[in-house]
């Protein structure tokens, strides 16, 4: 994997990362999973995306079912948080009026990434105009993974990193321990850290001219 770097495509600036086939497949899979979690259609399967795009009423209704109360899934609640924890009426009204639109926006951004990851070749090319939307989608994915990993504080994130290091040392035989305690958690943690690293490289590109 190579992080995002600036490149010029004629007169326009683009950000390009390089992923091998397995990395692309893993990231595309988690992008699609988060899209489903937020009420989107299964990317690339069954549903003709063009039809969904052309039917705003359907999209609106889809988000509406769950727009009255906080989502039950804590990962979805991290992506669509309660806007007024100390005022139920304000929180409900905010959710009712904003959640369908936020869900649509977030699913649209994920779908764009999913399509880019399903193009041929090792390069992941992001036009300058799409860079922040991509960074925002990477944030949503990382929020979901962080919730699944139980990352609630900065210390939790530090512990996760140490846990992954220990697992890595165990598998490379630096210590005698040859059993990784929770391989699924370590795998998710590694995916989380890889996406963090990719997003960080994308932000260097986005902020290259910030003053």
């Amino acid at each position: 994997m190579r992080g995002f770097q600036e490149s010029t495509d004629g007169p326009t600036s683009v950000a390009i990362a390089e992923l091998d086939n397995e990395e692309r497949a893993v990231i595309a899979r988690v992008v699609a999973d988060v899209g489903l979690l937020l009420g989107g259609e299964p990317f690339g399967m069954h549903v003709d995306v063009a039809d969904v795009d052309e039917d705003p009423l359907f999209r609106h209704l889809r988000g509406l079912e769950s727009a009255l109360t906080d989502p039950d899934d804590p990962a979805v609640l991290r992506v669509l948080p309660n806007a007024a924890p100390d005022d139920r009426e304000v929180a409900q009204e905010f959710r009712r009026f904003t959640e369908p639109e936020l869900r649509s926006l977030k699913v649209d951004r994920l779908r764009t990434i999913w399509r880019a990851l399903n193009e041929d070749g090792p390069e992941w090319v992001i036009p300058a105009a799409d860079a922040m939307a991509t960074a925002a989608a990477l944030t949503d994915i990382r929020l979901v993974l962080a919730s699944r990993l139980g990352l609630e504080t900065d210390d939790d994130a530090t512990s996760l990193h140490a846990e992954i290091d220990r697992a890595h040392e165990a598998t490379t035989g630096r210590y005698s321990a040859d059993i990784v305690e929770n391989p699924e958690r370590v795998w998710l943690g590694m995916l989380y850290e890889a996406l963090t690293w990719l997003q960080e490289s994308l932000m260097s590109y986005v902020m290259r001219d910030d003053v």
Binding site: H60, L64, A67, L68, R78, V79, L80, P81, N82, A83, A84, P85, D86, D87, E89, V90, Q92, E93, F94, R96, F97, T98, P100, E101, L102, L105, K106, M132, A135, A136, T139, D140, R142, L143, A146, L151, E152, T153, D154, D156, A157, T196, Q199, E200, M203, S204, V206, M207, D210, V211
Partner: protein
């Protein structure tokens, strides 16, 4: 068009009406809270691009979130704060609104 059927509301309509007439008098704030996921660079850029702050100011506010746990990013009427909170949520930042002074 109302975005959803009246019967779905858990609030009596009269209560909503009263709220709409009084809300403009109140001062509200938008808070952004610390979380372990959002990158410092990303939060800085969101603050800079959305609120129009300089990079220095955006970084100072980002550090306040990171070190103190939260910061007030905007102050105004409830509807304006709702717009700001929605924008922050669109970026995956953990934002809330509350009446000023609470």
């Amino acid at each position: 068009m109302r975005p959803y059927p009246e019967g779905v509301s858990t609030q009596p309509l009269s209560a909503i009406d009263v709220d709409v007439t009084t809300r403009t008098d109140d001062v509200w704030v938008t808070l952004v809270w610390n979380d372990p996921v959002n990158l410092m660079s990303y939060v800085t850029h969101v603050f800079q691009s959305y609120f129009g702050w300089t990079r220095d100011e955006a970084e100072r506010r980002m550090r306040e979130v990171h070190e103190l746990g939260k910061t007030v990013v905007s102050t105004g009427g409830r509807e304006t704060m709702e717009v700001d909170v929605q924008a922050m949520h669109s970026y995956g930042l953990w934002a809330t609104l509350t009446r000023s002074g609470q």
